[in-house]
Subunit: 104 residues, 2 copies
Amino acid sequence: MLDRLFGVLADPTRRRLIETLVQDGPRTATELAADFTISRQAIVKHLQVMADAGMVAAEREGRDVRYRATTECLADAVGWLLTTGPKWDRRLDRLSAATRRRSD
Amino acid sequence: MLDRLFGVLADPTRRRLIETLVQDGPRTATELAADFTISRQAIVKHLQVMADAGMVAAEREGRDVRYRATTECLADAVGWLLTTGPKWDRRLDRLSAATRRRSD
DNA sequence: TGGTTGTGCAACCAACCGGTTGCACAACAT
DNA sequence: ATGTTGTGCAACCGGTTGGTTGCACAACCA
């Protein structure tokens, strides 16, 4: 799970895809491809990897497939950073403490 | 930078290496190799990638090379998560707010 | 000095990855 | 019914990656 999550985050194209979906809302692969230099199929491949990691969801609308950024999927990533990080970096320690204090 | 950082985090062996170094303190490659099933050279390769990402530092002591987890290297990773995440997940939004409030 | 132990370097391998192209098929518009 | 447009699938390609083995060399120990 963490593997796929961080794996997605490790690729700049994938980060850009996420940012786009988060800022501009759900888009289809062909729409997204217009903003990128790579082909639609390459985009689709990325989106499938991302869907596999639980970071986007594919929703069919007639002929189109609209991809939406999935919320709450970063919990594991942040979780790992905040459990391993503190012993490591005092700044993260404070951040981790802040999380515990403000969690609901 | 983010690429290499998340790239390191995406590999379970590398995460285990980090956890080991963080918890048990600096270790040499041969020492580490004893706790893993893979060869020393494989460990060294991982450590080099991690050093390249600024997550560990290699320090020579006579014949040995001791690897130490580098502090403050997660700043960029956490930074990205906390800038992109908030628009995405309300829980991260609160966390981000907490960071800004408590930063020094 | 000679043996032991740790590191460094290089070659090699199979598998994976990011990307491409080509084409079939499904759905919409006219 | 026909043309257009979006999706899905598969093959293919070069580069990277995680791992191996073998060996040379440097440093410590006796």
